[in-house]
């Protein structure tokens, strides 16, 4: 178990290193970061001065060396947009909001998807199945951007049940979490359905039925447990996709003060350092999610041996 954990962590560190290198290359090769500091009619001398100030006039390999050294000391540089503030601090400031939003969303998604998928699986091909399948498909096809605005329009403006944006009220989390959760719930429900259908067909389920065990008990005590592994796999994958992707869109639509919104701000401001810090932190989060998922497998299903 311990060896497994160490191995997974090492692999994770390698992933983070590779991601950092990729970010370094892309941001320095693709953009001209010094432009963010200069007025529109800056002279070439001013450009050169700023380049020197930022260390961008050094050969790429020297910059990379500096970058790696700083990375090891958890120094991801100072933000350009907010001069004097370490980029990592800015990201860590916003991270809790994003984690909170995405965690609530994935929990909601699983709580919706598991019963939905189970119900659909009980009578495949029935009206109930078709309705729940259609609902899941509608949910997962909806782009988060559009879904976000529809939710704001219906529940924020028309019905006035929830705030239309921001994070400063208790109910503020509902709409953005829904925008994240609904498409994900659709995907997980579909997967739950097919896994459950398989599970219900297994010989031991027939045995349990012939023993006289009631339907709900059979599903709850036997089938459900065995579907947990695929559900966990998919949920963890979806959680990572949320953290690294969908949250950017949803946070921007809802003005939610998380890392996703920060990403858009950093892009608009061409803040190289901040973008680097964001990508590295998010990559780290994804790695952590994967390691935790692997550990959870052990807990749920002792048959899985952490090799």
């Amino acid at each position: 178990m311990k060896r497994f954990l160490i191995k997974r962590v090492l692999v994770g560190l390698i992933v983070i290193f590779l991601v950092s290198t990729a970010v370094f290359l892309v941001t320095r090769v693709v953009t001209d970061p010094e432009l963010a500091f200069l007025p529109i009619d800056a002279s070439p001398e001013q450009r050169i001065a700023v380049e020197q100030h930022l260390g961008l006039d050094q050969p790429l390999i020297a910059q990379y060396g500096d970058f790696l050294g700083d990375l090891l000391r958890l120094d991801l540089g100072d933000s350009y947009w907010q001069p004097g503030k370490p980029a990592l601090d800015i990201v860590m400031d916003r991270l809790p909001s994003t984690l909170w939003l995405n965690t609530v969303a994935i929990v909601a998604a699983v709580l919706i998807a598991v019963p939905l998928g189970t119900i659909a699986a009980l009578r495949p091909g029935s009206w109930l199945d078709r309705t729940t399948t259609t609902t899941s498909l509608l949910g997962l096809s909806a782009p988060q951007f559009w879904l976000g605005f529809i939710l704001i329009l219906i529940f924020g403006v028309n019905l006035g049940w929830f705030p239309t944006s921001g994070a400063d009220q208790r109910l503020s989390i509902v709409l953005p979490a829904a925008a994240l959760a609904l498409p994900t719930a659709g995907k997980i429900a579909q997967m739950m359905r097919s896994t459950m259908i398989d599970e219900l067909d297994r010989p031991y389920m027939l045995t349990a039925e012939s023993k006289g065990l009631r339907r709900l008990y059979r599903i709850h005590h036997h089938a459900l447990r065995n579907t947990l592994v695929p559900v966990l796999t998919q949920s963890s994958y979806e959680y990572a996709r949320m953290l690294a992707g969908y949250t950017v869109v949803v946070e921007t639509v809802f003005a939610w003060p998380g890392v996703g919104q920060l990403t858009v701000q950093a892009l608009e401001q061409q803040d190289l350092m901040l973008l680097q810090a964001i990508v590295i932190v998010v990559a780290t989060m994804v790695v952590v999610v994967n390691v935790v998922t692997d550990l959870l497998y052990e807990v749920i299903d002792p048959r899985i041996e952490a090799a």
Binding site: L153, T164, L262
Partner: protein
């Protein structure tokens, strides 16, 4: 079998009814009435906020800092304009310069020295006194090369400031600068002790009508009225300035009465706001023309280009009416030096074709450089203008790029062989003085692709003249030449600033785009 089929039909009908009900629910919000919001139970359009002493304003982006001297950031100014004050400022009604922390407008002691008499008895909210020492400190700080403020260009050639006595301040400039008073409207006065602490970037301390309360990063800044304010107490006691990036979300906040004022609404969405407030803004989208080399050397061709474009159509249709036709200059009446005798070229494609013929234009291709994704409707503007030019037989090769790559090309100066024939830019003049046109109209201007000795001479003369009437005459002549004889640009429109507000907000937007909360109130 039969019961199964009728059961199916019943279910299909139920589903259909459900879908229709859902669509109706969504469509419900499309009428002009606002519905109750997340907090209040009143309908915002019926004066729900009447007499309210707190306001929520939504701006499009978060400030990068709350230090009012370091960056050129409109979002920072949205907050600090209410906390800090300047020696003089522009009057909302007629954009004239009026004294604030100074007793009166500055007097000129000699060519390069100005003197201010300051008001007495004013303190910063941390107890530090506002006096000539503080004023001198503030001016010297912003001009200090070590501090590297991005605003330095705006302040021109100020070389230093010193306190003669507690209420007398002297400021020196490197050369005669008739624009000096106009420059001082931006220079905010800061408390020397508190400013030495780096936390001043997050904890602003000023003399103004509002005090800083807190900054929730990524969300909002909260202000409250300064009880010890030396001037008139503002009607609104508490203000929250929220950062909401998506215009649609700002609009939704207005409709649900969570937000009372929202900036930067796109022209197409403005109608959906409970109240729309507009003002002629600072932006003049223009196409800069290279007159010293290449196909456009003949002024007739450049005149033709101006006749070829239907500016009214651009204002009415591209900007949904939230723009006015530019009067052949990148200045409005609010700018000093505006030439009231100039008129926009009318839309006259036949005249354009005539002129092209006379000039002997033979289908040469003009290179056009444009930006996309930077200014409002920039990409659409290029399509439209190139379309008009094509319609009169002018061939254009368009090079449209994202801003960061565009700016490299655009800032190539006069004489650089890579300068395009036509270059798009959104010219804005927040100095409100015609001297700013130098960047484009003078051959040495940092953004110029134009060489005209007469215009150079006029603008040089304007620099050296201390009499404002004389300056004005020179500006008038310069803009006249740059419009009629030797066009500098293809002029298009002047964009309006579009704000959305709840129906009961009483506010007149300022020409300089400043969100000055003491001028806002809720009416019943």
């Amino acid at each position: 079998m039969q019961s199964h089929q009728s059961g199916q039909r019943r279910r299909r009908r139920a589903l259909a009814i459900g879908l229709v009900a859902g669509l109706l629910l969504a469509a419900c919000g499309d009428d002009d009435e606002t519905s109750s919001g997340g907090q209040s139970t009143d309908n915002g359009s019926a004066g729900a906020n009447a007499g309210s002493t707190s306001i929520v304003i939504a701006i499009a982006d978060e400030p990068s800092t709350l230090d009012p001297q370091s960056t050129e950031d409109g979002n920072e100014r949205a907050v600090t304009d209410n906390i800090y004050e300047t020696l003089v400022k522009r009057d909302t009604a007629n954009n004239e310069i009026v004294p604030v922390l100074a007793e009166d407008l500055p007097t000129q002691v000699d060519d390069t020295t100005w003197e201010f008499k300051l008001r007495e008895g004013i303190t910063f909210t941390n107890g530090e006194p506002f006096d000539a020492e503080a004023a001198a400190y503030s001016i010297n700080r912003v001009m200090d090369p070590e501090y590297s403020s991005a605003q330095v260009d705006f302040y021109g050639g100020i070389t230093g400031a010193e306190a003669v006595d507690a209420t007398t301040l002297r400021v020196t400039t490197s050369e005669l600068d008739p624009v000096f008073p106009a420059r001082m409207v931006r220079l905010k006065m800061m408390p020397p002790e508190a400013t030495e602490d780096p936390s001043i970037t997050e904890n602003p301390v000023g003399t103004g009508p509002y005090k800083f309360v807190k900054w929730d990063r990524g969300q909002q800044v909260v202000l409250e009225a300064n009880e010890d304010y030396w001037g008139e107490a503002p009607a609104i006691e508490s203000a929250t300035i929220r950062f909401i990036g998506q215009a649609g979300t700002r609009l939704a906040g207005l409709q649900s009465n969570e937000i009372h004022l929202a900036t930067l609404l796109p022209p197409e969405q403005a109608e959906d706001a409970p109240q729309v407030l507009t003002r002629d803004g600072l932006e003049f989208p223009v196409y800069r023309l290279k007159n010293y080399d290449g196909t456009l050397v003949d002024p007739k061709i450049r005149q033709a280009l101006n006749y070829a474009v239907d500016k009214e159509a651009i204002a009415d249709q591209l900007f949904s009416g939230y723009a006015s036709v530019a009067q052949c200059q990148t200045l409005t009446e609010a700018h000093f030096g505006y030439n009231p005798d100039l008129e926009a070229y009318p839309y006259d494609p036949e005249r354009a074709e005539e002129l092209l013929d006379e000039a002997g234009y033979n289908g040469e291709t003009l290179k056009l450089l444009g930006a996309t994704g930077r200014w409002l409707k920039d990409a659409e503007m290029h399509e439209v203008v190139i379309g008009y030019l094509n319609a009169v037989g002018v061939k254009v090769e368009a090079d449209i790029r994202p801003f960061s790559s565009y700016i490299d090309e655009f800032t190539k100066t006069v004489g650089d062989p890579a300068q395009p024939d036509i270059g798009f830019v959104s010219a804005s003049n927040d100095l409100f003085d015609a001297s700013k046109i130098e960047s484009y109209y003078m051959s040495e201007g940092g953004l110029s692709s134009y060489v005209n000795e007469e215009v150079d001479a006029e603008l040089q003369a304007a620099r050296a003249a201390s009499d404002q009437d004389e300056r004005e005459e020179h500006f008038h002549e310069a803009t006249r030449i740059g419009c009629e004889d030797d066009p500098v640009f293809i002029f298009t429109v002047n964009l309006q600033d579009i704000y959305g507000a709840t129906a009961d907000l009483a506010w007149e937007p300022r020409v300089d785009g400043s969100l000055y909360i003491p001028e806002m109130s809720f009416e019943s």
